[in-house]
Symmetry: C2
Subunit: 351 residues, 2 copies
């Protein structure tokens, strides 16, 4: 038998943040693709459009008129999946039929007054402003709710129904599945090893280098060893940080800078506005603000769907839904491609 | 506060097969949809096409010529994610960087010689033939491998790259994440209650009725209480069955019949060939064939992506990927719609 070569020989890798495995079959990239091809992303988006409910001065579904905002703009989601005042469901009569109350709030935050701009094309100071507002929101909603999920769906391929640059915040009275899993895994690691899992992980990755995409004095972006999506990345602070609002002013500044660098590389990969879902995970809030959460390390996940080109995505379907997630290139190959891309955005490059 | 109404008030429901919760926010169906609209599914598919590698008589990527088959046809996947002879990766030097060997086989099974037919339009005897072949494959591959995942990706929206009716079988030397979870949950339930979880669940659903889509003497199809996809269903036997090959000839016959009825309703919902990923979960095989697997109950999951119409799907993105799956109509509403649809296929209906 030949020597093991991770780009030729399928193997499974362990995700210690989710206690799950991923199947890595890099040789699958050789197969021809005859399946679905996505529509190219919307080319022309008008900068100001009063019929777009996210624009300054536009009227929203509830009849309210947006202010003429000139930086970020926060408002309540007009069709919230979580509301603060839902009545309690009755007590369940069987352990296979369990319902619980869900209370919360859903907010939308526009990043910028223009509809035709995205984070990588914004100024670092404008991105810093977004980060400050996220931290503020976490403090406000985290006072009441144990989980405040900050996330961005970017691009129609990721179910985003409005091209205007924005993120969402859904806060809930329950700890959702994913952070519950991340809490358990980090807690067990900390108990066993005495060091926060993701702090140790960042240290290791800075030494190993092969999965690093970008780094600066405070932050590190890697394609994690256990990535499932082709160009998935994990954004980590270098020091131990529990929550977004614990970041110093300098750390927010360097975060804005590294986000711009990462997202510019993403856009440069296929020379399109790169679709993804991203979001922040940090220590739970609400009543857990008073508890010892040292096992937690703040981080952001980026989950982009594209695989081969601007119109060919990875489908997480049959085998992935029913058995286990599978990837078609190694995390090291993905990191290398991203690392080697220019940090100047293809749209602003002088020819 | 008003009384709790599950179609108006968001709540969370527990999935005992995955130990996870789903957020049910049925009032979200009221929001207008301005996001991505899918291409209508491919209209014309030629019945015989020698350039399609799944057709009788066609040449495949490896140069082999398919036989002139007239029922099902099984062959090795030409671009397998799992191969039987991968070399062992080295021993990992850190608990955050764990790799294991993955060995297995990937097969493709065509359902029918025609490219322009689908399961709901096939004869019951032809579907029965597919079931027999699945059971045979499970016995063959299950002799060696602990997990044999039989699944079908149907429709371009589900990453299916060939319209010819077919399923896939990926067998592996490891128990993948999803069956590992299902094994743990069913094992714990059986230990606590002394009855297989899904046998008790089927009994309850037959009494409660509100989530039943179709049933016959041996089988039951429900939109499970904890469904995440809008029109997700769970296909369950009424008696205790561990694996596909344990089904009697009569049970395979009645399975073919109920599959035809379910899939006809699916197609009739939006009058298109309804996309989905489906697959079978039964007791693990390989060395576990000799163990007591009484906690297991055979079942099939159907995961269809469509939500509002033939071109508007549910996006499981930002909140769902980072926090928790969320649905926009109740399982009871979905079951009622499916239950009320005719059992005659819209394509064969006499006008
Ligand atoms: O093997 P296919 O049908 O070409 O490929 C499809 O199913 C596989 C198994 O679910 C997935 O890994 C692929 O992403 C998908 O495109
Ligand atoms: O709220 P939006 O952007 O309209 O909707 C999008 O994000 C939500 C949260 O991830 C998802 O539940 C929806 O399926 C998706 O279309």
């Amino acid at each position: 038998t030949p020597d093991f070569d991770q780009t030729e020989h399928q193997h499974i890798r362990y995700n210690p943040l989710r206690d799950m495995w991923v199947l890595v079959s890099a040789h699958r990239m050789k197969r021809p693709w005859k399946g679905q091809v996505e529509k190219p992303s919307q080319e022309y988006v008008p900068r100001h459009d009063l019929s777009n409910p996210l624009c300054p001065g536009a009227t929203r579904a509830n009849g309210m008129v947006n202010p003429e905002y000139d930086s970020t703009f926060l408002f309540d989601n007009d069709f919230p999946a979580l509301q603060p005042d839902a009545p309690e469901p009755g007590v369940s009569d069987h352990s296979l039929f369990q319902t619980k109350a869900a209370k919360g709030v859903c907010k939308v935050m526009c990043f910028h007054p223009w509809s035709d701009i995205t984070l990588p094309l914004m100024q670092i100071s404008e991105i810093k402003n977004v980060i400050d507002k996220w931290a503020e929101l976490l403090v406000d909603l985290g006072a009441t709710y144990p989980w405040v999920q900050i996330f961005e769906n970017k691009g129609a391929m990721m179910g985003c129904s409005n091209p205007h640059p924005h993120s969402q915040v859904w806060a809930s009275n329950f700890l959702p599945n994913e952070p519950r899993l991340a809490d358990r895994c980090q807690r067990e690691y900390y108990r066993d090893k005495g060091v926060p899992m993701l702090l140790e992980y960042a240290k290791q990755e800075m030494q190993r280098k092969e999965r690093v995409v970008v780094e600066n004095e405070d932050w590190l972006v890697v394609v994690p060893y256990w990535a499932t999506w082709p160009f998935q990345t994990l954004l980590l602070p270098r020091r131990h940080v529990l929550r977004l609002n614990d970041l110093s002013n300098e750390e927010r500044q360097s975060l804005a800078s590294i986000m711009k660098r990462l997202l510019t590389k993403y856009d440069n990969l296929f020379e399109i506005s790169f679709p993804y879902s991203m979001g922040w995970h940090g220590a739970p809030t609400g009543h857990q603000l008073a508890e010892d959460m040292s096992h937690w390390q703040l981080h952001a996940h980026y989950y982009p769907p594209l695989l081969r080109s601007s119109t060919i995505r990875k489908f997480m379907v049959g085998y992935e839904m029913l058995a286990q997630e599978q990837r078609d290139l190694t995390p090291e190959q993905a990191a290398e491609r991203l690392r080697n891309l220019p940090e100047e955005h293809y749209k602003t490059k002088a020819d």
